[in-house]
C-alpha cells in the first residue's frame, strides 16, 4: 500500500512515473492499450497519405509528403518503444493490429480522394491530433510524455505544411480551390469525431483523468479544435459543411451542429469505407516481410554465436 500511496502522490504532484517505478496493473494495462493504439494509428496513418506520394504534383510536395509519412513511421517506432517500457512486446502488438483485436484512430478509415486531401489531413486531422496530444506531453508516464513531446513538435510542423499547401492551392486555379473545398467538406466531420464520443457516453475518462493519462474531456478538446479552426478556415477562404456553426457570444465559443454518432460507431466497429483495406494492407506488408525479418534474426543469431565462440 505504501507503493500505491507513493504512486498516487507522484501522479497528483504532476511528477513522472518511470518504467521501474511501481504502478497499478490497471494503469499499466490502460497505458499499454492507449500507447499501442496511438502507435497503430501512426502506422495505419501512413496509408491514406502514402497513397499520394507517387503522384504528388511537384517535387517539393513529393519530398514534403514522403518526409511526413516517414515521420509517422518514426512516431510509431517511438510509441512502440514507450509501450515496451511497460513490458509490452512489439510483435504482439502488431499481431493485435493486423488481426483486428486492437484499434487505431478511425479517421484513417476514410479514403484520400484527391491531392487536396493531403493538405486537409495536415490541417484538420493533424490539427485535431495535436489538440488531443499536446496534453499528453504532460501525461503521468514519463516515456510516453517524452515521446509525445517529440511527436507533437513534428505534428505541428506537418500541420503548418498542410495548411501552407492549402493556401497555395487556394491561390491557384479554380480547379484547385474546388478540390480544397471538396476535401474540407469530406474531412470536417470525421475530424470532429477524432475527439471521441461525447463526454456523457465516454467510458474510462474519469479513471484516466485521475491517473493523469488524460487531462481534458473529449468535448473540451473538440470545442478547442472548433474554435481554433474556424478563423483558419476564414483565412483560407473555405467553409465548413455545417450550417449551425456560429459564434456564441455568451459561451465565448463556436456552436456547431450535431455529429453523426451513428456513423462514428459504424466506422469504429469496422464499417467504414477503408477499414478492411487498411488492415489488409498492413497485414500484407507484415506477411510479405516475414522472410526478411526471419533472415535478419537468423543472421544476428549466427553473428552472436560466432562472437561467443
Amino acid at each position: 500500500m505504501d507503493l500505491e500511496r507513493e504512486f498516487d502522490r507522484v501522479v497528483a504532484a504532476d511528477h513522472r512515473v518511470e518504467p521501474r517505478d511501481w504502478m497499478p496493473d490497471g494503469y499499466r494495462s490502460t497505458l499499454i492499450r492507449q500507447i499501442a493504439q496511438h502507435a497503430h494509428s501512426e502506422i495505419i496513418g501512413m496509408q491514406p497519405e502514402g497513397n499520394w506520394i507517387s503522384r504528388a504534383p511537384s517535387l517539393r510536395r513529393k519530398a514534403i509528403l514522403l518526409a511526413k509519412v516517414q515521420d509517422e513511421a518514426g512516431h510509431g517506432l517511438y510509441l512502440y518503444a514507450a509501450a515496451e517500457t511497460l513490458g509490452a512486446d512489439r510483435a504482439e502488438l502488431t499481431e493485435k493490429l493486423i488481426s483486428g483485436r486492437q484499434k487505431y484512430s478511425s479517421i484513417f478509415n476514410y479514403p484520400t480522394l484527391t491531392f487536396a486531401d493531403v493538405g486537409v489531413i495536415g490541417w484538420l486531422v493533424d490539427g485535431a491530433a495535436i489538440c488531443n496530444q499536446v496534453p499528453l506531453c504532460r501525461t503521468s508516464y514519463g516515456p510516453y510524455a517524452r515521446a509525445m513531446i517529440r511527436v507533437c513538435k513534428e505534428e505541428s510542423f506537418h500541420q503548418r505544411q498542410g495548411y501552407e499547401l492549402l493556401m497555395t492551392m487556394m491561390g491557384g486555379t479554380k480547379q484547385q480551390r474546388d478540390l480544397v473545398q471538396d476535401a474540407v467538406n469530406r474531412w470536417w466531420w470525421p475530424s470532429l469525431m477524432m475527439f471521441g464520443p461525447p463526454d456523457a457516453e465516454s467510458s474510462n475518462t474519469e479513471q484516466s483523468m485521475h491517473w493523469r493519462i488524460k487531462r481534458h474531456t473529449n468535448d473540451e478538446l473538440r470545442q478547442r479544435f472548433v474554435d481554433m479552426s474556424v478563423p483558419q478556415a476564414v483565412k483560407l477562404g473555405v467553409t465548413f459543411p455545417d450550417p449551425k456553426l456560429v459564434w456564441n457570444d455568451e459561451r465565448g465559443h463556436y456552436d456547431f451542429g450535431e455529429i453523426d454518432w451513428a456513423e462514428f460507431w459504424r466506422v469504429v466497429k469496422g464499417d467504414g469505407p477503408c477499414n478492411a483495406q487498411r488492415v489488409a494492407h498492413r497485414r500484407q506488408a507484415h506477411e510479405d516481410g516475414a522472410w526478411v525479418r526471419e533472415a535478419a534474426a537468423a543472421y544476428a543469431a549466427k553473428k552472436n554465436s560466432e562472437a561467443v565462440a
Binding site: 502514402g50 503522384r55 517535387l59 517539393r60 514522403l66 486555379t173 516481410g289 526471419e294 543472421y299
Partner: protein, 258 residues
C-alpha cells in the same frame, strides 16, 4: 551548354526515377525501421534530383523549372539508366531482395561517379556531388548490410538475394557505356566518363559479394536497342507506367501551382 543540361538531366533522372521506385515501399517495408530507411534514401535521391534538374533548367535557359522537367517531359526525353526504372518490388517485378540488390549496384556505381564529380569544373555539379557522396556512402552501406543479412540469414533469404542480384545484374553493362555527352563533358573536366568507373565499382561489388559468400551473377545483359538505351531515352516498357503515375495529377491540372 546543351551538353551540360543533358548531363544534369541524366544524373537527375537517375535519382528521380529511383526515388520514385523506392518510395513505393513506403508503408510496405518488412519492418518499420526499414520503412524509415528506404524513405530516407528516397528523400536523399529526390534531393539530388531536384538540385540536378534545377541546374539542367538553369543551363538550358528557356524558362523551365524542375517540375516542368519532371512532370511534362515524355518518356523518350528521360535520360536515366534503365536500372533505375525497372520494377524491383514491392510490385510484382521483384521483392525486398531485388530492391536491395539494385540499391547495392546503383549506389556503388553512383558513389564512384559522384566521388569523381566532386572535382567538376561546374560549381553546381561539384557541390551536388560533395553533398551526394555522403548520402550515397550511407545508401551503399545500408544495401551491403542487407546483402550480408539476406545471404547469411535463412536458406530462403539467400535464394531471394541471389535471384535479386541476377535480375538487376542484367542492367549493369549499360552503367559503363559512355554516351557522347558524357564523353564531351569528361573531356571538358565537367563530367565523368562512366567507363572509367568500372574497375572500382566491380571491386566494391566483389568485396560485398565475397563477404556474403555469393558468386558474381553470370547473366545475359538486357541489350540496348540499336545501341541506344536509357541515356538516349530508350527505356524498358516499365517506364511508361512509372511516368503515368508520377505525372498524372500534374498533367491533369494545367496552370496549377503547388
Amino acid at each position: 551548354h546543351d551538353d551540360l543540361a543533358a548531363y544534369c538531366l541524366m544524373l537527375g533522372d537517375d535519382a528521380l526515377v529511383l526515388a520514385q521506385r523506392l518510395a513505393e515501399w513506403c508503408s510496405r517495408a518488412p519492418e518499420l525501421e526499414e520503412d524509415v530507411a528506404l524513405a530516407n534514401i528516397a528523400l536523399d535521391l529526390l534531393g539530388q534530383a531536384r538540385m540536378l534538374l534545377t541546374r539542367a533548367a538553369e543551363v538550358e535557359g528557356v524558362g523551365r523549372d524542375e517540375d516542368e522537367l519532371a512532370y511534362l517531359r515524355d518518356e523518350r526525353e528521360f535520360r536515366n539508366v534503365r536500372l533505375a526504372e525497372i520494377d524491383c518490388g514491392p510490385g510484382p517485378g521483384g521483392d525486398f531482395g531485388t530492391t536491395i540488390a539494385r540499391l547495392l549496384v546503383f549506389s556503388s556505381w553512383r558513389l564512384a561517379l559522384f566521388q569523381r564529380l566532386t572535382g567538376s569544373l561546374d560549381p553546381v555539379l561539384s557541390a551536388a556531388a560533395a553533398k551526394g557522396v555522403k548520402e550515397l556512402a550511407y545508401h551503399r552501406d545500408h544495401a551491403a548490410q542487407w546483402v550480408l543479412r539476406l545471404a547469411g540469414g535463412t536458406e530462403y533469404s539467400r535464394e531471394r538475394i541471389v535471384a535479386g542480384l541476377a535480375l538487376v545484374w542484367a542492367y549493369t553493362e549499360e552503367l559503363y557505356v559512355t554516351h557522347p555527352v558524357e564523353a564531351a563533358l569528361a573531356d571538358a573536366g565537367v563530367g565523368v566518363d562512366p567507363a572509367a568507373l568500372r574497375a572500382e565499382v566491380d571491386d566494391v561489388l566483389d568485396t560485398v559479394l565475397r563477404a556474403a559468400g555469393l558468386d558474381r551473377p553470370e547473366v545475359r545483359q538486357v541489350a540496348a536497342l540499336a545501341g541506344q538505351a536509357g541515356r538516349d531515352g530508350v527505356h524498358t516498357e516499365a517506364m511508361g507506367y512509372l511516368l503515368a503515375e508520377l505525372q498524372h495529377v500534374a498533367r491533369s491540372m494545367p496552370g496549377a501551382h503547388w
